[in-house]
Symmetry: C2
Subunit: 345 residues, 2 copies
């Protein structure tokens, strides 16, 4: 028996705007970096096989055929009813049955979230899963959660988010005492809606490195490692920030193409600006993931290219290698944590 | 009698981190642009007088002395109790009594909002005032509201925000049929929390140019002229966006100073980058304002410099010149608008 830990992913071959092409190409890119990775693609065999050949994927790669897939814009409730046995469905079941260590999909977000919850199920003591993503800031990266899994949030779910984020930052990002911040409209402890103030008190009582309330501009200042907020605000903040970034870079590009002076400066600065662009490249931050479920599930952006999709695969690999599932369960089962969660429930 | 409309502002001379210096200097800058502006400063006569001399402010400028002012970090409830007759208080009363056409303060935001509401009072049919600001996007500017006046929002307040924003964009920004968007986590009409979906239906029924739900990254795309959201999300989105902008420009600066190549390119590009910086200069977007009150009230950032403060003064001038108060009341009193608001109340 191989002593090395198995690293096997279930891949939804048919999810995403440019599936299955970018999916297969993305897996090929990831496998170049991590040759020990093995995968099962779920999807249309006829479409997948020529791509596997094209990207020379054979060793440690298999296909499970299904003709069913969930379109990107289908209502999740409709997908659940009409698309049983879809590629997404089967990929998640492979994790549930222990045949794979994690799943990656670029498919319909709403359907993926609901199916993940139904098939993988939440941990004991966690009422709802959360969508998480990594975002860059002045001192490195932090994670931001929730990004839209829970639109109306209670103190209890905010505390759960904080605990799951803390666990992820410690075990996957290797931060020894990750700083946790709760997003609010002011940093004084009297600010904000009641649920937030209640969560603040509970987090103060937990054995974590809680920095208290932080404001919107503290995210990019790198004040904390884990930014906790409700799914509505988190989704808006993430997307608005991406929009601002795109806007500034677009304006920069125009500035450098408008005059001979700009073009000359732009020519000189090109390698530097490319490095800068990479630092902010949303593709390197592709791969939101669910936390709180009994299984590793990563969501690539639907419009991701192969490069971006390979980063989503990397995220799943990191979570599996860190043994996050077991570590997080241990963290959540600590008596002092259980006591605080029990009071909020 | 002077046939020209009076343009007289009440200025809180003591509010802000660097008051009264930047306040007086900021008014001097604004008066250079608009010589017909007259002002009353409220605050410490002894501190104000030498500054008025320094900035050659005499014609159309008077001082009402009060030794009381509200510190930036005082709890609003405490300020209300202990700081009666403060510079902020008296400035607002001058508007209430009709002695001034509007008020500008860089002081304590919470106290300013509560005092504004108490002294100026909301319009009939408007349950709560809202904090609004202008933000830049790819095609120009839009306004974003609410920014923190109302943290928990009902369908009714969202619709009120939309109506007030629409009126502002039409009369002050001269957009003939301003496009209104409601921030949500998706653009399909089944998305989002119940209050938002209820607001969506009501806005569809109103005679305004409603674009439906928009997402966070649509703000900078310039999809709409008025972005409507609750105060909690709006505050986070605005500040997070400012943070991202600062982060990108900071990284850009570092990029251009790290090597000889960067410094040379930076030297060549300097005038272009300065133009770009101006486009994004938060000082030009200084001056949030309240809507929904019976009086023009503008809030400068507490840390504003004179240049930024002068922009806040400009915002007040624009609102007065547009006769926004009367125009907005007429808009709100339209029978079809009243019908929709009545159903939501």
């Amino acid at each position: 028996m191989n002593k090395k830990k198995r690293l096997h992913l279930a891949i939804d071959g048919m999810g995403g705007d440019s599936a299955p092409h970018v999916i297969v190409e993305g897996v090929a890119l990831a496998k170049e970096r991590v040759p020990s990775l093995s995968v099962t693609f779920f999807g249309d065999q006829e479409k997948l096989s020529p791509l596997l050949k094209k990207y020379k994927l054979s060793q440690g790669v298999e296909v499970v055929h299904t003709p069913v897939h969930i379109p990107q814009d289908m209502l999740p409730t409709q997908a659940l009813k009409e698309r049983q046995g879809s590629s997404m469905h089967l990929a998640l079941q492979a994790v549930r049955k222990g045949e794979a260590d994690g799943v990656v999909s670029a498919g319909n977000t709403g359907a993926y979230l609901i199916l993940s919850k139904l098939i993988l199920r939440t941990w004991d003591g966690i009422s709802r899963p959360t969508i998480v993503s990594t975002v860059p800031h002045e001192k490195g990266d932090c994670i931001l959660l929730d990004l839209g899994a829970n639109l109306q949030t209670s103190a209890q779910t905010l505390v759960e988010f904080a605990l799951m984020g803390e666990s992820f930052a410690r075990h996957v990002l290797f931060k020894s005492a990750p700083k946790i911040g709760l997003l609010n409209v002011g940093s004084e402890d009297v600010k904000g809606p009641p649920a937030l103030r209640k969560a603040y008190k509970a987090l103060k009582a937990l054995p974590i490195n809680f920095s208290g309330f932080i404001e919107g501009d503290d995210i990019t200042k790198g004040v904390v490692d884990v930014v906790v907020t409700d799914g509505f605000s988190g989704n808006l903040v993430l997307k608005a920030g991406e929009g601002v970034m795109r806007f500034v870079f677009q304006s920069l590009k125009e500035t450098f193409s408008r005059s001979w002076r700009g073009r000359l400066a732009g020519f000189l600065a090109r390698p530097l600006l490319q490095t800068l662009r990479l630092r902010f490249d949303p593709r390197c931050y592709n791969g939101a993931f669910w936390l709180g479920l009994q299984g590793v599930a990563v969501k690539s952006h639907g419009g991701a290219d192969a490069y971006a999709f390979s980063y989503a695969v990397d995220t799943a690999i990191d979570m599996i290698r860190a043994d996050l599932q077991n570590k997080m369960r241990e963290d959540l089962e600590k008596p002092e944590t259980q006591a605080v969660l029990g009071e909020l429930a």
